[in-house]
Amino acid sequence: MSEVLLQASDLHKRFGDLEVLKGVDLKIHKSEVVTLIGPSGSGKSTLLRCLNLLEIPNEGELVWNGEPLPYNRMTPAEICKHRARTGMVFQHFNLFPHRRVIENVMEGPLTVLGEARGEAETTAHQLLDRVGLADKAKAWPSELSGGQQQRVAIARALAMNPNVLLLDEVTSALDVELIAGVNDLLAELAREGMTMVVVTHDLSFARRVSHRVCFMDEGRIVERGPKDEVIENPQAERAREFMAALTS
């Protein structure tokens, strides 16, 4: 297997008295698609947000490309730098409503990477073309459907040329007929070798794109392995119940 891009060891995260992550170990290899599934409140989203330091963990180790990430001692600028190389897409898109579609995609390259406007605009047009929204460059986000907005959000994340894409239930808020467009796009990215960590409830999508699946319950990864084993034939009891409920 290829080398490890991001590794978490014994990761803990508490919100007040509530311990959401109770010691998580996770390795993500380059060009690998890892899917996190599990019931609501099991800590999937929190784990994802700890990986790009949107949440700062309380305990445990993070290693990026062989270099430790000393999150407790990092300056705000260093944290920003780590977030810039890890793209994230949210359930509710979170596009900037006061900026046109093209400007949403250009925002990161312009303000964070310091790219020239012309360069950023060319890249943004290419990315919009790629997600199938070349004709919507001048539109406002509020004029787009949910599926279109989510594809803009993916383009916005890709514009930063990230090493890994973190996807947090990106199709959960979409109408059924709009899901396929987003899923097709993600599957294509996976085929091209984009490293991805995916939180989803969509088992067919997990089956389609992921290499490995982790099942989380109550702040721990209770089962992990190749997608066929975990989805089709889970060993842990909680995992069996969950899969049964989802596929019934």
Partner: protein, 501 residues
């Protein structure tokens, strides 16, 4: 028909029923003649004279405190029957009011710094609407190159002297002396009395009977020694009755006679036409309006910047910055603008000017500071709400791109916060424009103050205020129109359906 008669009877009877009370007005800001005690009651020479006279006339005295600038308007509009407020008898005032015999004689006195040898170039204060102000206006040669500033009361003049905003002032010799002693100002009478003046009790032209009764009562209390006792109590010396009686002789011709009993309409006949008055006053209104607009616009721009900064500060992650910002909002919103104006003018401006050794903060500067600080706090509170109402997902999306907190605030959150707040900010601006009407309290003659001056000069009790209202309405409607346009521009990115056409 009978019903109509009944209504008429009521209309006539209502004022008669109130005749048991005799309401007498005074400013309450003219020690030792009229002031207020700890309980807020009017006391002083004028107050005692008014009380005793009303009782001798067979009425129950009711003392009314009224702003000096509006005291004649109050009489005309029937808020009280008489003014017993150290009003000097002048030919001009005799045209619109009746006066009793003089009830004391004093004179106008210049007060200046000890050692003053010439009036050349001094900063001179005077009470607005006073005979002293009129004297200065008509005797310019006696005040060469002087800067004349009008104040609302003698107390404010002495405060301006002690805070080094004035070198000299003109006032009644008794009143001025009293305030100088009380305020500890380093200032003394300069030169001889400018002129003597006699003060009388004023009544409407249609009430000569009231004046006759008051004259009889005045004669009575002078004779039985009550007058001398009251005079001694407040002024500190026995009155010179010879001077008073001489003034009565001079005043004889003005005593209203039986045949002079006039119709109520006579007053309005003597008034100059309103159109003419307004026309002649329009340049004044224009000057006032320009000051109002200048002050409003300048404040609006600076207060928007300040409010935005403080608004950001109040949501800052740094607890010290957040606390300081929130404390600022709390303190400023928790105190009245008028108080802030006085602190800025008599406190801050004085300290800074003394430190600099010259007048770096003018009255306009002090007003600007107070208005900016005040409006800034309201804008900050508005912006705080606007920032808070931006969805948390916006912060996360920007953070996930690697944007810093500052950059996120500037490029993502603030634009949306402005969009959320633009209506409230516009509202703050409208409130600000109306609040500028308070700066008259620190000698700036803006729209409202202009209207008050015109009321005094024209004798129209309220129409100049209507003119001022029209000016305000025009300014505010214009501003409102502009704000609505801005709001539409801001909203364009939200209501996308129109923009896509």
């Amino acid at each position: 028909m009978r019903l109509l008669l009944l209504i008429c009877a009521f209309l006539v009877a209502a004022p008669l029923a109130a005749q048991d009370d005799l309401r007498l007005a005074m400013s309450g800001a003219f020690q030792p003649f009229s002031t207020t005690d700890e309980g807020g009651n009017l006391v002083g020479f004028d107050a005692d004279i008014a009380t005793v006279l009303a009782e001798r006339m067979g009425y129950r005295p009711v003392l009314v405190q009224n702003d000096w600038a509006a005291i004649q308007a109050g009489l005309k509009t029937g808020k009280y029957e008489m003014i017993c407020g150290s009003m000097a008898i002048t030919d001009e005032r005799l045209k619109t009011m009746h006066f009793t015999l003089p009830y004391y004689v004093s004179g106008a006195q210049v007060f200046a710094r000890p050692g003053t040898t010439s009036m050349q170039g001094l900063r001179v204060g005077v009470s607005e609407d006073s005979t002293y102000a009129k004297y200065i206006k008509t005797h310019v040669a006696e005040f060469p190159d002087c800067t004349i500033t009008q104040f609302g009361s003698e107390a404010e003049i002495v405060a301006a002297v002690t805070t080094n905003k004035l070198d000299a002032f003109v006032s009644d010799r008794i009143v001025g002396g009293f305030y100088v002693k009380k305020g500890g100002a380093d200032i003394a009478p300069y030169g001889p009395l400018l002129y003597e003046e006699a003060c009388g009790i004023a009544a409407r032209k249609d009430e000569p009977e009231l004046v006759r009764k008051a004259n009889a009562a005045l004669f009575e209390i002078v004779q039985d020694g009550t007058y001398a006792r009251i005079y001694d109590k407040w002024v500190g010396v026995q009155p010179d009755l010879d001077v008073l009686l001489k003034s009565w002789g001079d005043f004889q011709q003005h005593i209203p006679h039986e045949e002079a009993k006039t119709e109520p309409t006579e007053v309005s006949k003597e008034k100059p036409g309103f159109a003419d008055t307004v026309k002649s006053m329009l340049p004044l209104f224009r000057t006032g309006a320009i000051l109002t607009i200048e002050l409003s616009l300048l404040t609006a721009v600076i207060a928007l910047l300040l409010g935005t900064l403080i608004g950001i500060g109040s949501t800052a992650a740094n607890p010290l910055v957040a606390r300081l910002s929130q404390g600022y909002i709390l303190v400023v919103r928790g105190t009245p603008l008028l108080v802030q104006l006085f602190i800025a003018y008599y406190g801050l401006a004085t300290v800074l000017n003394d430190a600099a050794g010259s007048e770096v903060i003018t009255a306009f500067g002090a007003a600007l500071i107070a208005l900016v600080i005040n409006t800034g706090a309201y804008n900050a509170e508005t912006m705080r709400g606007g920032i808070r109402s931006v969805d948390k997902g916006q912060w996360e999306a920007a953070a996930s791109l690697g944007m810093t907190r500052m950059k996120t605030m500037r490029r993502v959150v603030l634009p949306q916060a402005f969009r959320n707040s633009v209506a409230s900010l516009g509202n703050n601006l409208v409130v600000l424009i109306k609040d500028t009407s308070l700066v008259g309290a620190i000698t700036l003659i803006e729209l409202t103050y202009t209207a008050r001056n015109v009321v005094f000069q024209s004798g129209h009790p309220f129409l100049p205020f209507v003119v001022a209202a029209v000016f305000y309405l025009f300014i505010i409607t214009t501003v409102d129109f502009g704000m609505k346009g801005w709001e539409r521009r801001m909203m364009r990115s939200l209501g996308g359906k129109r923009a896509i056409a």
